[in-house]
């Protein structure tokens, strides 16, 4: 006895010291990792990587980053047109280190350089309409040239017709104009006029730093806001509208920060008050804080080790979930509170250990199911929560028997009420059948009215002013933020261009089918196509010239020597102004080009079109995400059903058929009640509510298991569960008040489910047979 006790004591000391060493290592690792880690707040990072189809990952990321780095400003001076306010704004933007490539007016020099390049390479920059006319022979092109010549408003000069008798430059220019947005050129500025007649001047730029750094984003947004105030002081009638992903991501991260600080503070205060009320001692508070702290430490460190970064949303949700780890401390402390007088600290641990480990393993398993989700943030959440919970539990097991020495022993508060509650479950048929029956009725009503909505927009609660600005920019420029593109890619720049040319006729057809209303094709042909064009020109030129001469237009022979345009040369020229964004080449030559598409009617048909062509993928971020949400919601439903079946089976095997089935009822009804509450609250079912249900199942089982622990007394279990439930509601309940709908519906399902699980847990009381009623 003595020997084994010493042995046990040694083993215990070893465990405590080892765990201390592990914690120290975690702390050191975190201290090293933290300054190097990024806290990611991009909503994009929450979403799966594979949404861009088969295209090379590096191209996808390159494009996404570039698109997210775009900024557009429209500045209106008031009712009268004057670029002064816009010029003032431009100068301020150009001075900001957070921005690069800020551009406003187009200088006469730039316009001239544009013309020079267009003329020099006219034989190689053939537009589709000219190509079609040339393909019909020279007559069609000649008619077109004549029509331009005779038109009083076309402004063809003798210089133009002498230097470019086939009017190839003019054709290419008209094609580009057709592609242009709603913006017109005035005093060198791109500008637009709104419905009230106010002129708006266009400025665009990029973020100097592509990485989404919360701090920098927030600084930039603040600087821009301050600048707007200055602008309005200087030009009282002036107005500015801005478009940029950075505005939305900054809003999201500020929102999350707000959630963390206010909800976090409220949560901690609530838990502390509750624990103090029950134990009337400060030490349990310190112990709760210690286990939660160690949990948070381990969660943060291990998540950073696995992913190299932390998503802000992970941090918000994980910290609340790790708060659940206070349950373990509470369960142990409750045991000590009641039985501390009779048994030693280690004996108490021995008593609660099976239930504790069973509870930990089921909960951790429930979280690990989230690793299945394709969303990086959810995987982070799974890793964070499970490692945090394990660490918190180990802290209780390894350290607390030593730390609780001398903790006051008091009678259970409100023993009388708790005992009556348990007795009611045994004797009162109204409670035993009525309560589950009532929950069942509510569940059925709730499920009947439950709506499903996989809209990804729920991830973000977007503020009206930002949406309003975005709509205004769309109306003024005609450039939508539709986020729908074809991405064409190839092993080389030329292969990419050839694939783009193969896609073009399909796009035209898609427009006829009304699958889309418009698209923008890069106005550059592959070298292969340029060669074909040169041959076409040689063939058609004599006929064009003959017809022009017959009409009395005397011009010299056209110069038809090709001057092939390569991608790098084009990108370096002023011709690619406004198009460069759409082209991306990697160091190894692999290239990609985006074809922006607007007015999509049939995303599925466009996806099929992309699948049928090599090197083309269809990108419809929102629709793809919505689809993924739906798919994974179904997948999780399946997993949940499987988990319930396995748990039911284990109950039946352990407790027998009848008692086993009765024991699964609280779990089933807690899931149903969670969904019913969602429906009554006017929310709809989505992926996030499914994730909450998995947690409800995991936590609900804890309660059943605490109750069915044969070594514990029912009243102790009830008190521990009551405390655990209250702290859980205090921590996760705060999520209900989040301004992000997804998080708030997550909180609603969790709270109502867990409360129901608590309410119905006595249904699984094993002692009903033993204790005579």
């Amino acid at each position: 006895m003595m020997r084994s006790s010493v042995l046990f004591s040694n083993r215990y000391r070893l465990a405590a010291v080892s765990w201390g060493a592990v914690c120290l290592m975690l702390a050191i690792t975190l201290a090293w990792l933290w300054p190097r880690a990024t806290v990611n707040s991009s909503v994009l990072a929450l979403l799966p990587h594979q949404v861009l189809g088969q295209a090379p990952e590096a191209l996808q990321q390159g494009f996404l980053q570039r698109l997210d780095g775009q900024m557009v400003w429209l500045i209106s001076p008031g009712d009268a047109a004057s670029p002064a306010a816009a010029a003032w704004w431009l100068a301020r933007l150009q001075a900001m280190p957070a921005l690069k490539q800020v551009q406003g007016p187009i200088s006469a020099q730039q316009q001239q350089a544009w013309g020079t390049f267009a003329w020099q390479h006219r034989n190689n920059l053939i537009d589709p309409a000219t190509r079609a006319r040339l393909a019909q022979g020279g007559a069609a092109q000649a008619d077109w040239v004549l029509a331009q010549l005779y038109s009083a408003f076309a402004g063809v000069s003798s210089q133009e017709i002498t230097h470019d008798p086939l009017m190839l430059v003019r054709g290419a220019q008209l094609a580009l104009q057709k592609n242009a947005s709603q913006l017109t050129l005035r005093d060198g500025w791109l500008m637009s006029t709104d419905s009230a007649g106010r002129p708006w001047y266009f400025i665009h730029g990029e973020l100097a730093n592509n990485a989404f750094n919360m701090q920098q984003s927030h600084q930039l947004v603040q600087q821009l806001t301050a600048l707007e105030t200055q602008l309005q002081q200087r030009y009282p009638t002036a107005r500015v509208v801005t478009r940029g992903t950075v505005l939305f991501s900054d809003y999201a991260s500020q929102q999350a920060r707000h959630d963390v600080s206010t909800l976090g503070v409220a949560t901690v205060a609530g838990v502390l008050l509750l624990v103090f009320a029950v134990f009337r001692s400060l030490r349990p508070l310190a112990l709760c804080a210690l286990s939660v702290g160690v949990g948070a430490l381990a969660g943060t460190t291990i998540t950073l080790l696995c992913f190299g970064e932390l998503h802000l949303m992970t941090l918000v949700m994980s910290l609340s979930i790790v708060g659940i780890s206070a349950d373990y401390t509470l369960y142990y402390l409750t045991e000590r509170l009641i039985h501390g007088g009779q048994v030693s600290a280690r004996q108490s641990l021995h008593k609660v250990l099976p239930a504790l480990l069973l509870a930990l393993s089921t909960t951790v398993l429930a979280y690990l199911i989230m690793l299945w989700a394709p969303f990086p943030a959810l995987r982070q959440l799974a890793v964070f929560a499970s490692s945090g919970l394990i660490a918190a539990c180990l802290t209780v097991v390894c350290w607390y028997p030593g730390l609780v020495r001398g903790l006051p022993v008091r009678p259970v508060p409100a023993t009388f009420l708790l005992a009556r509650w348990l007795a009611a479950w045994r004797r009162n048929r109204t409670v035993k059948f009525g309560l589950p029956g009532l929950v069942l009725v509510l569940t059925v009503i709730g499920l009947a009215t439950l709506k499903v909505n996989d809209d990804v927009a729920q991830l973000q609660a977007l503020p009206q002013p930002l949406l309003h600005q975005d709509r205004l920019v769309t109306a003024l420029t005609g450039q939508r933020a539709d986020q729908t593109w074809f991405m064409v890619y190839g092993a080389s720049a030329q292969q990419t261009l050839q694939r783009l040319e193969a896609l073009a006729p399909h796009l035209q057809q898609a427009r006829q089918e009304k699958w889309l209303s418009d698209y923008r094709l890069l106005p550059l042909a592959s070298l292969q196509r340029q060669q074909q064009d040169a041959a076409l020109l040689q063939q058609a030129a004599p006929a064009v010239m003959a017809r022009l001469r017959a009409a009395g237009v005397q011009v010299s022979e056209p110069e038809l020597t090709p001057e092939p345009v390569t991608v790098p040369a084009w990108l370096a020229s002023p011709q690619s102004e406004g198009w460069r964004l759409l082209w991306l080449s990697l160091a190894d030559g692999r290239s990609g080009v985006l074809v922006p598409v607007s007015g999509v009617n049939n995303s599925a048909a466009l996806a099929r079109l992309a699948d049928s062509l090599p090197g083309v993928s269809w990108i419809d971020r929102k629709s793809t995400f919505d689809q993924l949400f739906g798919t994974y919601r179904l997948l999780l439903s399946g997993l949940l059903a499987a988990a319930v079946a396995v748990i039911a089976l284990s109950y039946v095997l352990r407790l027998g058929f009848r008692a086993g089935l009765i024991s699964i009822i609280p779990s089933l009804l807690s899931l149903g009640a969670g969904l019913a509450a969602l429906s009554f609250g006017g929310h709809s079912l989505n992926l996030f509510s499914m994730l909450a249900l998995i947690l409800v199942l995991g936590i609900g089982i804890n309660y059943t298991l605490f109750f069915s622990n044969p070594r514990a007394t029912p009243v102790t279990s009830l008190l521990a569960i009551l405390l655990a439930m209250t702290t859980t509601l205090l921590t996760l309940g705060m999520l209900v008040f989040s301004s992000t709908q997804a998080i708030s519906s997550f909180g609603i399902v969790l709270c109502s489910g867990i409360f129901t699980a608590f309410l119905l847990a006595p249904l699984a009381l094993p002692s009903s047979k033993r204790t005579p009623s």
């Binding site: 009083a152 000069s157 104009q177």
Partner: protein, 201 residues
């Protein structure tokens, strides 16, 4: 006494006949449909002979402008509120909409403004110099004040009396276009079915 009265009346009527741009606009506004023939002479510097073309045109206030060149080759141009259509020699019509090319569309509004003496559109784009030439004749000189018009034209001159009779465009490059309208008809005041078809594409 009678002579005096007549003289006074003549004086009054003479004053009443001093034309203003507003009068002109009012007069043109009371002409819902104008049909006319045109001859156009386009002189391009460095080209031996001017390009001469002729045909018919129709301006309907509620429909737009229909310009049909018959000589030396057929070409039809139709401008309405939101489209610009050009048909050459039986080729498929080229349609430009206000949404697809607003820059080009400025010309559309301008052309119609020229034919209808739309003061608002003209004043937005040009410095206007209106000259009453006596006997009901008038001349308007328009100097472009916004781009891209100022890149194309140095001056646009309109002349006429009861109708718009002549349009002269002088290009920035020193080229010029001279359009003469004749055989103006105001009747019938509405478009015939045949004429309505000209605006359908």
């Amino acid at each position: 006494m009678r002579k005096r009265l007549l003289a006074a009346l003549a004086l009054v009527s003479l004053h009443a006949h001093a034309v203003t741009l507003d009068d002109l606009q009012q007069r043109f506004a009371s002409q819902p449909v104008v049909r006319a023939d045109f001859t156009q002479l386009r002189e391009i510097k460095g080209m031996a002979q001017p390009l001469k073309s002729s045909g018919h045109l129709l301006v309907a206030q509620d429909k737009g402008l229909w310009w049909q060149q018959a000589q030396p080759f057929p070409l039809t141009l139709v401008l309405d509120d939101n489209r610009m259509v050009q048909v050459i020699n039986g080729q498929p019509p080229q349609i430009i909409t206000a949404a697809s090319n607003p820059q080009m569309f400025q010309f559309n509004h301008l052309l119609r403004a020229l034919f209808q003496a739309d003061r608002q559109v003209l004043a937005a784009n040009f410095a206007i110099d209106f000259v009453d030439q006596g006997q009901g004749r008038w001349r308007i000189q328009l100097t472009p004040k916004v781009s891209p018009l100022d890149k194309l034209f140095t001056r646009i001159t309109l002349q006429g009396a009861a109708f718009l009779e002549q349009i002269d465009l002088s290009d920035k490059q020193g080229d010029g276009t001279h359009i003469v309208l004749s055989h103006q008809q105001l009747e019938p005041k509405t478009l015939t079915d045949d004429e309505k078809q000209r605006f359908v594409f």
